[in-house]
Amino acid sequence: MNAPPAVSIQASHALGAAFIFKKALISALVALVLFSLMIGVRTEAGPTGQLIYWTRFGDLAAMVATVFGGSIVVELLRQWWGPVGTIRVVPTNVKSALALARRGIAPVLLIFTFLVPVIFYDQRYILDLGILVLTYVMLGWGLNVVVGLAGLLDLGYVAFYAVGAYSYALLATNFGLSFWICLPLAGILAALWGVMLGFPVLRLRGDYLAIVTLAFGEIIRLVIINWQSLTGGPNGVSGIPRPTMFGIPLTPGDDGLAAKLGIEFSPTHRIVFLFYLILALALLTNWVTIRLRRLPIGRAWEALREDEVACRALGINTTTTKLTAFATGAMFGGFAGAFFATRQGFISPESFTFQESALVLAIVVLGGMGSQLGVALAALAMIGGFELFRGLEQYRMLVFGIAMVLLMIWRPRGLIGHRAPTVFLERSQAISSDLVKEGHG
């Protein structure tokens, strides 16, 4: 395996300076053509509406020179790096350290997450951010069932989040039902909508499936906006009851938790409670998903992603298999939605736009489809990382975009691309990402 790359590295060295120079020259030429109008000529409307224009050849020259220099640097870097996909000779001790890190990262992350409210008790901002990250971890894990395991591209996942949130909000405000009764109801209702979405899209694959799910997400949002008598329309639902700790409210009153425990009331108690609540919900999602993968239904999901025709030849009912995937994913989305409603105390259709669907899907794809740990890491990077770059102000999006492009170059199948087998005879060996299919929808 090591001989061919060595040859190709030598070959590319042999190409040498002339090749790099030629490539840079072509890039510079393309830049010159592109930027000559975009940068070279500046046009503006004058005070009386006439066209004023002036040339900026200095800027243009600087831009072309940058491209020329940058192209040389990139080419040199590429030669230094070697061909993409080269299996590099990594010292064994580094390799074993990496393997150890890979094994250790999940428990370390879990323990750290449990300790976050203890460490950052006084930092409300960190706690709120933690709750937000965990919400997206849960949404990511829920969508992972549909996209990562069953290979059905769902662009309207936010619909189930919305159904869960509105289920809780409306049941709690209209009928006074408690959070702990509404939570399973929200999940069931969302699952029901998952099945309802599932039926019409069963025959669709790939791009067509993506478009219909996208439309479904928008339909749910538009219904919420326009059905004013039920949902309050764009005004949303306010005054949603806060969660109670199994009936004990987290309020400063005499019957509150603080009073009962005989400690001083602090609004942080509720935040900490919410943190552990979403952590528990997310871990439940994770546990159920891991269990389901090892059950026939989970294997059927993955088999469906690999080859639907073969599934049918083996007597697997692809209709119910797809519907259960949609329903399971939707149910977790519904739970997350109910949590979102109780945390915010106010929901409106603005919280359930397509951007949310795209964000959750990005988390799943970045994390590595099907990988639970990958999705958690991606949620942390996407939500936490986004907050981290807040100091960069308007460049935040730029930095974020560059980071994502780089990630997709180096890890095209997500942070954790390989697949862990669900059952083994002798030993479990990870399956390389280039064998695992993405599914055709």
């Binding site: 083996l314 697997i316 087998p421 083994f424 005879l425 064998l435």
Partner: protein, 277 residues
């Protein structure tokens, strides 16, 4: 048609628009026997397979599967997955269709989906880890291991199916079909792309399946050494119609079969066609 037929195909026709892929085809596959369906490329063999296994709905004709207990099932009335689930007909594909990103063992576990779904109480018993589910799962793993041993892949059980060499993938696909515990096994060109040694071991495997499991086998094959060695009965198709039928020896000496395979002078071909129909 005499004998105990597990599958009786009667006047089967399949049209795609104006093209008649299969025309008025009748044949039977005997119980616990190996029936080969042969013919030149484009003769309509795979179309017949796709009708039998429910991937196509035939334009006309009937296909009746009779189980050992006398239960008769009309295949043309069942659709796709039910043919495997209820009629117990399993198939392999001309261009292998394994689950490449799953291990060999997982492939065989997926094949036992319906039995395992029942055992896992439609997932709910499995989710709580009920003892009955655990024992059913262990039983499924044991069955998979048995089949991996039969096809000589037990050492590679934990490797991704997509990583296995071509010949191993062919055998794994047969093992996967057998894990559905079929009454009739339909193999679409199982020896395609195999070398002489691999074809010989394939013949041995198919004969052992017939002897051990009592599974009836229907196969499409171009490799005549395999067909002549293991088939009990051969059906020859050309241009969507049956041109000959009989024991391997009878078929081999049939002038119409020779004409279909080797080609003849035009007049001779017309004479053969006229005498045939």
């Amino acid at each position: 048609m005499s004998g105990d037929h597990i599958l009786s195909v009667d006047r089967l026709s399949m049209r795609f628009g104006g093209i008649v892929a299969v025309n008025d085809l009748s044949f039977g596959a005997e119980r616990r026997k190996i029936t080969a369906l042969i013919g030149p490329n484009g003769a309509g063999k795979t179309t017949v397979f796709n009708c039998i296994t429910g991937f196509y709905k035939p334009t006309s004709g009937t296909m009746q599967l009779t189980h050992d207990d006398g239960r008769a099932i009309r295949l043309e009335r069942l659709n796709d997955f039910r043919i495997s689930k209820q009629a117990k007909v399993a198939r392999t594909f001309q261009n292998i269709r394994l689950f490449p990103g799953m291990t060999a063992l997982e492939n065989l576990m997926v094949a036992q989906h319906n039995a395992l779904m029942r055992a896992s109480g439609l997932t709910f018993l499995g989710l709580i880890g009920a003892p009955s589910w655990r024992s059913a799962e262990q039983h499924a793993i044991d069955l998979a291991r048995t089949w991996l041993e039969r096809v000589g892949l037990v050492d590679r059980a934990d490797e991704a199916a997509g990583n296995l060499p071509y010949g191993d993938q062919r055998r794994l696909e047969i093992a996967r079909a057998m894990c559905t515990e079929p009454a009739l096994l339909c193999l679409d060109e199982p020896a395609a792309g195999l070398n002489a040694r691999e074809s010989a071991s394939l013949s041995e495997l198919l004969l052992s399946i017939r002897a051990g499991q009592g599974t009836s086998i229907l196969l499409i094959e171009h490799d005549m050494s395999v067909v002549m060695e293991i088939s009990d009965h051969v059906v020859v198709m050309d241009y969507g119609v049956k041109i000959a039928e009989g024991t391997p020896q009878q078929v081999r000496d049939d002038p119409k079969v020779i004409a279909a395979y080797l080609g003849t002078d035009e007049e001779e071909a017309i004479a053969v066609m006229e005498s045939g129909t």
